[in-house]
Symmetry: C2
Subunit: 444 residues, 2 copies
């Protein structure tokens, strides 16, 4: 695993000439500088951007203005691309150079900052006049199941006699998702229709899903790719991870229960999966690393290929994750969004490095821009459960909202917003922005 | 469903000026004309090709020579692309125009044929001096499980008390595969390492898979795409299918058994999946259509969204499928390849149209170039079982080869070749070419 890497970019006293980046509650201070792909309202061409406060550094414009003249030409080319794939493919060290230079360009007190500030009208975009895209062409999307709390809760509903299967503590369980399902935050999500059953053996009926749910997840983009047949030692796994985002793996529980045996979830997951548009680099997350999950006495130790001293010591990330909801009635009443849950990514049974190493261990090729989902992030207590299926316990304990409405599952018009942030004494708070989607009625 | 469409391209008496295309046993007579992507030995750039006998019509060269001047400019552009995606995206009717024109260009007795023949040195490539590629950028790969014989056989091994799950006869069961796993015929396939168990509850050990297997499947490429949220009525499903290929969904059965619950196969399938390089269009397959599978008395009728009179009458394809093997010892002894099985795609419980319509029914976006696998094609008798797991019945009845060697699962050095062909009185036999791969030893 990459050694701890705290540098000037983590200095909490650094001030930006972009005023909004100095506000204590911004998700995007100088210490963050996440990458994304945006489009100006006035043109079709997507551009690489770096979020700073409520503005975006337009990398194409910045390259044209000469602000990135000191980086390698290949890196400059990547910054003028239409997707983040070329930057991801270059690997973490080149992305680190870009982030460090962006830190100087956006700082108030540096010569680079003075030069950039003079060009602000050309190189800074306002978030009002741009649209955000899925940041990479995602070749493949895989989704893991790395929260033991989630796996145990859901397992106890679907298989009461056998909640946690014997393989769970030995390998990060995952499955192949659908890359075409990925949409950027803000995209409306249509309720799927499909087969579901009233009794376990059928017969099924076809109707709009009556058990539509969200899943609170962290997504991770692949940086360097692997060739088919290659494996990745766990000590080097994080070299292959570019950065993280929020991921809402929308699920239709009634469709899922009927279809998922024996080959896993299919249409119950592939109608839409929403990502937050900004990719927070592992470098920005460096101050917020935590030890990996402490296994219970009696749990098996990770097998050697999944075990690494540095991963044990600091393979986790202390990311606070929240789910917020507004309903039609709440919006009509002018009521604020309401928080459904609050969890911590540090409670995951498997680390991202373990997921990546396991994924590649059989020779599966990972390509730059591929997306890995963590699986629903649920903690040990009720308030940290990352989906409605768990929060309302399969509909048995519906959640009551401020309007008096209850929710066992999502209703049309419900808007779900995921948020994430990292805080630690002595460092600037950083955030992930939002990952939002509103449920649209099913097709007639 | 598209109405029957027999035209001049199905005329068995048409002769090509490419002599090898007139041989009775060629897979690629004038009546076939499958599309593929090839690369000349002398350049990197991939090109669209159309197979004819033992030659390939080089579409880039043919466009440059003016042979495709009568087709729409968008179609001409698609023929000069690096992948088949643009041609697929245009839809079946444009691809039909190309195939019809290619039929005239390659015929001995037409004015177009005379013109093309005069340019043969420029527009015909020899299969000796080219390499074949995966024909499309595959955005997503999904794999079905549409043979009831396969599902029942495998189910009885993994779940003796419950071989065929209650959902099987109600929906085409499928799962998301890994697009990055797809390789073209001829690519060596490395035996994966991974976790497996001696007893169902573990503990697992990590080793090279000891139960490596092939799976004989048909693959189908998506033509027109769907937008997220759209559905496809079954009567129009085949408008979305460009053509078919052979697919070997290599599987590591020991890894699969341990990992597949509850989310389905993952690393046991994603190390490699081999496709044959030539895409046989549905138009070429038109004479070989058959009725869909006759359900047993007592089986449920398909739900309305999966039921269509034309699909029942002619939604199947009478394609004979074969698996051949050579081992190191066979090659050393100069022994010929040996046939392991012979089956018929017409025995599938679900049609391709039903698979496609079900896939889109929840709103999952299908993109041009996406690949759908049929699942292992196994018929009712032993000789038509499409994988070693079934043929050797989980190792209990190993297959004996001509060399005296036995096979319960694949050994290093084994080369598996899939073949397929269609024959019917009054029509030219057409074939799919080969889908081959040799097993390489696992990494040390």
């Amino acid at each position: 695993m990459t050694q701890p890497l705290l540098d000037d970019t983590h200095d909490p006293s650094a001030q930006s000439w972009v005023e909004s980046a100095n506000a204590p509650d911004t998700d995007f201070p100088l210490a963050n500088l996440p990458f994304g792909i945006f489009r100006h309202d006035f043109e079709e061409r997507p551009r690489v951007g770096i979020a700073i406060g409520d503005r975006v550094l337009d990398c194409l414009a910045a390259v044209r203005a000469g602000l990135f003249n000191t980086v390698d030409p290949a890196v400059r080319d990547a910054l003028t691309s239409w997707t983040l794939n070329p930057l991801m493919a270059l690997g973490r060290s080149d992305a680190r150079d870009v982030r460090r230079l962006a830190h100087r360009l956006l700082q108030a007190e540096t010569p680079e900052g003075a030069k950039a500030r003079a060009l602000a009208d050309d190189v800074l975009a306002s978030t009002d006049s741009i649209g955000m895209r899925v940041p990479a062409e995602i070749g493949d999307y895989s989704d893991f199941y790395a929260s033991i709390h989630h796996a145990t809760n859901v397992g106890s509903m679907f298989r009461p006699d056998n909640p946690l299967l014997p393989n769970y503590k030995w390998m990060p369980i995952g499955y192949h998702g659908r890359a075409s399902s990925i949409v950027p935050s803000g995209t409306p999500v249509r309720r799927p229709r499909g087969q579901s059953v009233a009794s376990p053996d059928g017969p099924p009926t076809v109707s709009p899903s009556g058990r539509m749910d969200y899943e609170l997840e962290i997504g991770a983009y692949i940086a360097r790719g692997t060739r088919q047949g290659d494996v990745v030692p766990i000590a080097r796994a994080e070299d292959y991870l570019f950065g993280l985002c929020l991921l809402n793996d929308w699920s239709a529980r009634d469709l899922q229960q009927w279809e998922y045996q024996p080959l896993g979830p299919f249409l119950s997951k592939s109608f839409a999966s929403t990502v937050s548009p900004w990719v927070v680099t592992l470098d920005a997350l460096e101050p917020f690393r935590v030890a990996s999950f402490t296994r219970a006495p009696g749990d098996p130790a990770p097998l050697p290929y999944l075990d690494d001293a540095a991963d044990r010591a600091r393979g986790g990330f202390g990311i606070t994750l929240e789910v917020w909801i507004t309903t039609e009635a709440m919006r009509a009443a002018g009521a604020p969004a309401e928080r459904l849950s609050r969890g911590d990514f540090g409670t995951m049974y498997w680390t991202l490095a373990q997921m990546l190493t396991h994924h590649a261990s059989g020779g599966c090729a990972l390509r730059p821009g591929d997306l890995i989902g963590s699986g629903t992030v649920s903690g040990p207590d009720r308030g940290s459960r990352g989906c409605l299926l768990e929060l309302a316990w399969r509909g048995q304990s519906p959640v009551t909202l401020s309007t008096g409405e209850t929710r066992a599952f999502l209703q049309d018009g419900d808007e779900v917003t995921l948020r994430a942030s990292c805080e630690r004494e002595g460092f600037r708070r950083i955030g992930f922005g939002t990952c939002a989607g509103r449920v649209m009625p099913a097709l007639a």
